[in-house]
């Protein structure tokens, strides 16, 4: 067994103290109880605060457990929070690409659409926030599968003759997605339509959602039936911008 990391052990001790204690604790109390120097404890607390595991009272300056700890294990990011934080980047993506934008997360083995921006051509379109899409047949779903070690959904319906349903084909595709950093679906869900998606990352780089565009295959793809590099670039830029706002690179 490799050696242990001292600062993580200390962080764990601080969290145990905060969880066991009666309410909020001051920096001095924590440092005294653990027999550590105050700057050491302060550094650890600041880091824990940064990832949301610890909160500091605005008035007293005392520390307590943070809300993010309560959601640990569900890798939780509130879907309405995700929409709210991405709306300023989803709009420019729709404007620049000329296509509809969707943001998705995983819900019970499917993609849940949490945000949808219309294709900016003022045609009649319907908001499909709250609808579910298959993981294996959509660009959004492939991104979510590729970055989540979640098992492939057992039932993989063929929506078109191009839908990847075989386990080996899909695994190879997901490896490719991880390598490239983005996914596409080209007439795999709906004939005549294609989509591009990229991961949205939260704290520590954890993928919390996927963001992408979809539209007619002749607009999304070039003459060789491959997604336009320009569109891939702006989708990835937009997803990175949201990730930055969510604290992915700190």
């Amino acid at each position: 067994m490799p050696g242990t990391v001292q600062s993580i052990e200390r962080a764990a001790a601080i969290l145990r103290m905060l969880a066991g204690g009666p309410g909020k604790l001051s920096l001095a109390e924590i440092a005294r109880s653990l027999d550590l120097a105050k700057p050491t404890v302060h550094g650890i607390l600041r880091t824990l605060q940064g990832v949301g595991f610890v909160e500091q009272d605005r008035v007293s300056g005392h520390y307590q457990l943070g809300a993010a700890l309560l959601h640990l294990g569900t890798s939780y990011l509130d879907i309405n929070e995700l929409r709210s934080r991405s709306i300023n980047w989803a709009d420019p993506l729709a404007a620049r690409s000329g296509e509809a934008v969707r943001i998705g997360t995983v819900l019970e083995g499917r993609v849940l659409v949490v945000h949808h921006v219309f294709r900016p051509d003022d045609t009649f379109q319907t908001l499909d926030i709250g609808t579910l899409m298959p993981l294996h047949a959509t660009a959004l779903g492939k991104v979510l599968l590729a970055y989540r070690s979640a098992a492939l959904p057992p039932a993989r319906d063929p929506f078109t003759h191009r839908t990847l349903t075989g386990e080996r084909d899909l695994s190879a595709e997901l490896t490719h997605v991880r390598d490239a950093g983005w996914a596409a679906d080209i007439e795999e869900f709906t004939v005549g339509e294609a989509a591009i998606a990229a991961p949205i990352r939260g704290y520590g780089g954890l993928v919390v959602g996927a963001m992408g565009i979809s539209g007619l295959v002749e607009r999304i793809c070039d003459s060789r039936y491959r997604p336009h590099a320009r569109l891939v670039g702006i989708v990835r830029d937009a997803a990175r911008a949201v990730s930055r706002d969510l604290g992915a690179t700190r």
């Binding site: 921006v117 702006i234 830029d237």
Partner: protein, 502 residues
């Protein structure tokens, strides 16, 4: 993103209540870069809110090069600068040194409470309200200026000698940008109680009523016109528009036709309805205001319904009740239940604004039973914003004789899908969100670009407007009527809570 080196852009300065932003827009009205800086809020006493006007100007100076750098452009690529500003905030400064006299009194400041009561008792008060098409209220800048003249020794005399200047935020910024041009625009001037809304100039009678010397007032100009050329912050660039922020949002939403309306959902919410060249006087609690004026054309007017507490009710739910950790989670919590369970929250925290204007009202939560959960409360919080919108829309339809057919929305709360659906349900009209959430800045940019010919006409601006989302009404008419009835009964229960002293 690659930008052609010859491309030209328009810049908006959005001088808001909590921050100042410089935003670069391209020809399609898309945001290219943004630089933002918050400024300090001073609360010296309960009900007093102040800003340091010099700090705000320094922020503009700092943000200007930052916005250009982030866009990767140079000054010669800037076609024009437009200003949108927090309205009714009052600044007074020394004409010679340019130094503000004390802090700016912010629109939320209610220190003129007693002064307004005294003014209302004075002869001529009715005529002042008639000419300005505004009630005499602490909300507007005229009483604030009177208060400053009363409470700064020697200021009245210095003002009469022309040594002291008054302005709202756009006037202060243009003065500093141009190095000494003292001007305002019709929309900001229409929020002072001092403007004659028909002549669009200061009313001599109203100035006499307030005892305010004409010498300290800026010249009133159309909103969409070249005010002058900047000497600082954007040296050499034309300042080509100024609008109050809510009027700028109306312009940014391209509501150029009578009957078009927008609602900006923020801390409070502001619904403005374009009434064209007719000034419509409301008998039911709406404000008549100038929407905009293009140089050489008649002014366009608007009816305005101001709702004090909308987004701030969600903030209260988060910070004071601590039932959610972040504002967007209100929707998650509200979705844990299928309806309000019979519970209604009327957030009359500091009285009710439009259409009731009841300053003695205070908030209520009604319909509480042991069945009610925090999910029902969350629903009631969101529904309060929708029903308050409905009350304002009803008053608008009644006052204007126009019937609202679609509501264009913007602001932070439009990210709340449940709320937007509920607004569509209770209004029974489609609610649409444009592909540009920064409508205040966009409106200032549009107005400035229009003034210098960057965009040829209003029609061209309309082509930039695209629908990003739409919510269609889906509520049963019977349910809507029943819920509205309940809401109105809840509102009645807020009245007469604060008892007159003595």
């Amino acid at each position: 993103m690659t930008l052609g080196s010859r491309d030209r852009y328009v810049i908006a300065i959005d001088q808001g209540t909590t921050s100042t932003r410089c935003i670069v827009f391209d020809r399609r009205g898309q945001l290219v870069s943004l630089a933002q800086q918050e400024h300090k809020q001073y609360y010296p006493r309960p009900g007093w809110v102040e800003h340091d006007a010099m700090e705000i100007w320094r922020n503009v100076e700092r943000l200007a090069p930052l916005a250009l750098r982030r866009a990767g452009i140079t000054l010669d690529q800037v076609a024009a600068v437009g200003i949108a500003n927090q309205r009714e905030t009052t600044v007074v400064w020394d004409r010679r040194t340019g130094v503000p006299i004390g802090r700016a009194l912010v629109w939320q400041d209610t220190r003129t409470d007693a002064l307004v009561t005294a003014l209302l008792a004075k002869p001529g008060a009715t005529a002042v309200q008639e000419r300005s098409a505004l009630p005499l209220a602490t909300y507007f800048s005229g009483p604030r200026l009177r208060w400053m003249l009363d409470h700064t020794p020697g200021l009245q005399q210095r003002a009469e000698r022309g040594e002291i200047l008054f302005g709202t935020m756009e006037t202060w910024l243009i003065w500093n940008l141009t190095g000494g041009l003292h001007v305002t625009d019709v929309t900001n001037a229409s929020r002072t109680n001092l403007l004659d809304v028909h002549t669009l100039d200061w009313s001599p009678e109203s100035l006499t009523f307030f005892g305010i010397p004409r010498a300290m007032l800026p010249e009133v100009r159309p909103s969409v016109s070249v005010f002058g050329t900047a000497a600082a912050a954007f040296p050499g660039v034309q300042i080509a528009a100024a609008l109050g922020d809510q009027q700028a949002a109306l312009f940014g939403q391209t509501c150029f036709t009578p009957g078009e309306a927008k609602c900006t959902y923020g801390t409070g919410s502001f619904l403005l309805l374009n009434t064209g060249t007719d000034l419509v006087r409301s008998q039911n609690g709406l404000l008549s205001t100038v929407a905009y004026q293009v140089a050489g054309s008649p002014a366009q007017y608007a009816l305005e319904g101001s709702i004090a507490i909308t987004g701030s009710l969600v903030q209260w739910f988060r910070d004071q009740l601590e039932l959610i950790a972040s504002a967007p989670e209100i929707e998650t919590l509200a979705r844990t239940v299928k309806d309000n369970g019979g519970c209604y929250i009327v957030p009359a925290f500091s009285g009710l604004y439009a259409p009731h204007w009841r300053s003695e009202a205070r908030g209520v939560i009604v319909g509480l039973t042991s069945y009610i959960t925090k999910g029902h409360l969350a629903r009631a919080v969101l529904e309060a914003t929708a029903w308050q919108t409905r009350e304002v829309v009803d008053a608008m339809n009644e006052s204007s004789g126009l019937t609202l057919k679609t509501l264009k929305v913007d602001g932070g709360m439009t990210a709340d899908n449940l709320l937007m659906q509920y607004v569509a349900d209770v209004l029974d009209v489609p609610v649409v969100r444009p592909l540009a959430s920064e409508t205040v800045s966009l409106g200032a940019a549009y107005a400035a670009g229009l003034a210098v010919g960057y965009w040829p006409d209003l029609e061209d601006l309309r082509h930039n407007w695209h629908r990003a989302g739409q919510w269609l009404p889906a509520m049963d008419a019977g349910l809507r009527a029943a819920e509205y009835g309940n809401w109105r009964r809840a509102v009645e229960r807020t009245f007469d809570w604060i008892q007159p002293a003595g």
